[in-house]
C-alpha cells in the first residue's frame, strides 16, 4: 500500500480537484449510461405492449 | 350542407391551430430543436478556433459572438418556416381558410420561436461561461436574447414569406433578413457589452423592447400578405 493515511489519499498530493473530477466524471458517465440503458429497455417493452393493444383494438 | 353562412373564422382559432400543428410537428421530430441548439453551440465554439483562445480577447468578443451565433442559428431555422407548407400546398389551404391570415401567421411564428429562439436564450448563459463572462453580464445577455430573438423570428418570418417561391431560396433570404437583423444584433450585443464595461444596459434593452412591440404589431400582417402573394 502506497498511502500512509486516508486524508493523504484524498488530497492526492494537492491535486485532489483534478484527479477526483476525472474519476468522478467516469463514474457519473457510467451510471448515466446504465440508467439510459434501463430506460431504453423499458421503453422498448412498453412499445410492444402498446402495439399489441392497438392490434386488439382493431 | 347548411346554406346558412358558417360561423366565420377567428384570429384566435387560426393562431391556436397553427401553433398546435407546428408544435406537434416539432414534437414529432425534436431533432430540429435539438439541432438548432447544437448549431448555436458549434458556431460559438468555432470562433475561438479561428481566432485563438486568449481569455481577455474571448471576454472582449464574447457577447458579440454569442449574439452572432444566435442570429445565425435563428436564421438557419428560417427556410423551414414556410417552405414545406408552400411545397405541399398547406399554405394555399391556409390562405383559403375562413381564419384571418393574422391568426395563423402569428401562430406559426410563435411556434417557431418556441422551438428555436427560446432554447437559445435558455442556453446562452452556459456558452457565456465558456467565454468567461461575469454573472451580471450573463443575465443581461440572456435578457437581451429573450427580447431580441422574438424580433428575429418575426422579421425572419416576414422575409421567409417574401422569399417563398422566389429563385435563389436560402441566399435571397440571407440578403433580405440579415440586414434587418443587424440593428437587433447591435442593440442586443450592445446591452451585454454595456453591462460588461460597467455602463447601464437599460437604454439598449428598452430599444429592443420597443422594436419587439413594433414587430408584434406590424409583422404578422405583413407575413399574411406575403404568403398571399406567394401562392398566387
Amino acid at each position: 500500500m502506497y498511502w500512509s493515511s486516508w486524508s493523504d489519499f484524498r488530497a492526492m498530493g494537492g491535486h485532489a480537484f483534478f484527479v477526483w473530477m476525472s474519476y468522478g466524471a467516469l463514474l457519473l458517465a457510467v451510471v448515466v449510461e446504465m440508467l439510459l440503458l434501463r430506460a431504453r429497455r423499458k421503453r422498448a417493452l412498453a412499445a410492444i405492449e402498446e402495439e399489441r393493444d392497438l392490434e386488439t383494438e382493431n | 350542407m347548411n346554406s346558412v353562412p358558417q360561423a366565420p373564422g377567428s384570429f384566435s382559432g387560426g393562431f391556436a391551430w397553427a401553433m398546435a400543428r407546428d408544435l406537434r410537428l416539432a414534437w414529432r421530430h425534436p431533432d430540429e430543436a435539438v439541432l438548432t441548439v447544437a448549431f448555436f453551440v458549434l458556431v460559438a465554439s468555432l470562433f475561438p478556433l479561428g481566432i485563438g483562445a486568449e481569455p481577455q480577447l474571448l471576454q472582449r468578443i464574447g457577447p458579440g459572438v454569442i449574439w452572432v451565433g444566435a442570429l445565425l442559428a435563428a436564421f438557419l431555422a428560417l427556410p423551414g418556416l414556410f417552405a414545406a407548407d408552400y411545397a405541399d400546398g398547406s399554405l394555399e389551404q391556409m390562405t383559403l381558410s375562413p381564419h384571418p391570415a393574422l391568426g395563423w401567421a402569428g401562430g406559426k411564428i410563435a411556434a417557431h420561436w418556441i422551438v428555436s429562439g427560446l432554447p437559445l436564450t435558455l442556453l446562452s448563459p452556459l456558452i457565456g461561461l465558456q467565454y468567461g463572462l461575469t454573472p451580471d453580464t450573463l443575465l443581461v445577455q440572456a435578457l437581451s436574447l429573450a427580447i431580441g430573438t422574438p424580433v428575429l423570428s418575426l422579421l425572419g418570418g416576414a422575409c421567409a414569406a417574401l422569399a417563398l417561391g422566389a429563385r435563389g431560396g436560402g441566399m435571397l433570404l440571407a440578403l433580405l433578413a440579415l440586414p434587418l437583423f443587424v440593428p437587433v444584433l447591435i442593440f442586443g450585443a450592445g446591452a451585454a457589452e454595456a453591462q460588461a464595461t460597467g455602463l447601464s444596459p437599460a437604454p439598449h434593452l428598452s430599444l429592443l423592447a420597443a422594436a419587439l412591440i413594433a414587430a408584434l404589431v406590424g409583422l404578422p400582417w405583413a407575413v399574411g400578405a406575403a404568403v398571399r402573394i406567394a401562392v398566387d
Binding site: 500500500m1 483534478f18 484527479v19 476525472s22 474519476y23 466524471a25 440503458l37 429497455r41 422498448a44 412499445a47 | -
Partner: protein
C-alpha cells in the same frame, strides 16, 4: 459455432442476454483490481506527482474511444456490403458507449492538462481530432435516427462512419506527425518505458473498459432488436412468456 445461426436477431437476442451479465461482472472485478493497483499500490510519478493517476482512466478511455469506433466502422462496412440486419444494429448499439468513452477521454485529458500544461484546452492536433471523433459519434447517432425508415438510417449512417475512419490514424499518429503538446505513446510494440505496476494497472483498467463496453453494447442491442422486431411473432411470444 454456426455464425449464421447467431446472426439472426432472434437467436442473438438470447445469446446477448446470457452474455451481458458475465461481461458486467468481469468488468466490475477487473475495475476493482485495476483501481486498487492504480490508486492504492502504484507509486507516485517523479515528474508529475499524484496527478498522473488520471492515466488509469484517461488512457483506457482514449483507447476505447478509438477501438470502439473502429469496430463500429467494421459493422458498418458489413451493413453496406452484405446488407445484414444484425451488423447495423450492433453498430448502433456501440455508438453511444463509444461517445461516452470519447467524452470521458476528453474530460479527463483536460483535467489532466490544467495542472500539467497550465490550460484545460489547446487546439493541437491530438485534441482537435479527438474532439472531431466525438462529433462523428454524435453525427452517426443523429443521422441514424433521422430517417423514418430505420434501414435507410442504418445505411446512411454507416457511410458516414466509414468516411470518418480517416480520423482514427490522424488521432493515433498526430503526436508523431506534428509536434504537439500531448505526449507520444509510451506503450508500443517495442516495449514500454513505464513502471510495471503502472503499466499493469493501466492494462487491467483497459480490460475492464473492454468488458464494460461489450456488456453495454449487448444490452443496448437487445433493446434495439425489440424496437425493430416488435411486430414479429417471436417478440410477441417472448413477451407473452
Amino acid at each position: 459455432m454456426n455464425w449464421f445461426y447467431f446472426s439472426s436477431p432472434s437467436t442473438f437476442y438470447g445469446l446477448a442476454g446470457r452474455l451481458a451479465p458475465w461481461c458486467f461482472v468481469s468488468a466490475a472485478v477487473l475495475a476493482a483490481w485495476g483501481l486498487y493497483l492504480g490508486l492504492l499500490v502504484a507509486p507516485t510519478d517523479a515528474q508529475q506527482g499524484e496527478v498522473y493517476r488520471v492515466i488509469f482512466i484517461h488512457v483506457p478511455t482514449a483507447w476505447m474511444s478509438m477501438f470502439l469506433y473502429f469496430i463500429m466502422a467494421c459493422y458498418c462496412g458489413l451493413t453496406l456490403v452484405f446488407n445484414t440486419r444484425l451488423s447495423a444494429m450492433m453498430a448502433r448499439a456501440i455508438a453511444p458507449t463509444g461517445a461516452m468513452f470519447t467524452f470521458v477521454a476528453l474530460w479527463t485529458g483536460s483535467f489532466w492538462g490544467r495542472p500539467t500544461w497550465g490550460t484545460y484546452w489547446v487546439w493541437d492536433a491530438r485534441l482537435t481530432s479527438e474532439l472531431v471523433l466525438l462529433f462523428l459519434y454524435f453525427g452517426y447517432i443523429a443521422l441514424a435516427n433521422a430517417f423514418e425508415d430505420p434501414r435507410r438510417g442504418d445505411r446512411a449512417a454507416a457511410l458516414l462512419a466509414l468516411i470518418g475512419v480517416v480520423n482514427l490514424p490522424i488521432i493515433y499518429f498526430s503526436v508523431q506527425w506534428w509536434n504537439t503538446l500531448h505526449q507520444g505513446s509510451s506503450v508500443n510494440f517495442k516495449g514500454t518505458s513505464m513502471h510495471v505496476t503502472m503499466l499493469t494497472g493501466m492494462l487491467v483498467m483497459s480490460f475492464a473498459a473492454w468488458m464494460y463496453a461489450i456488456g453495454a453494447a449487448l444490452v443496448r442491442v437487445r433493446s434495439i432488436i425489440l424496437e425493430r422486431e416488435r411486430r414479429t411473432q417471436w417478440v410477441r411470444e417472448l413477451k407473452a412468456a
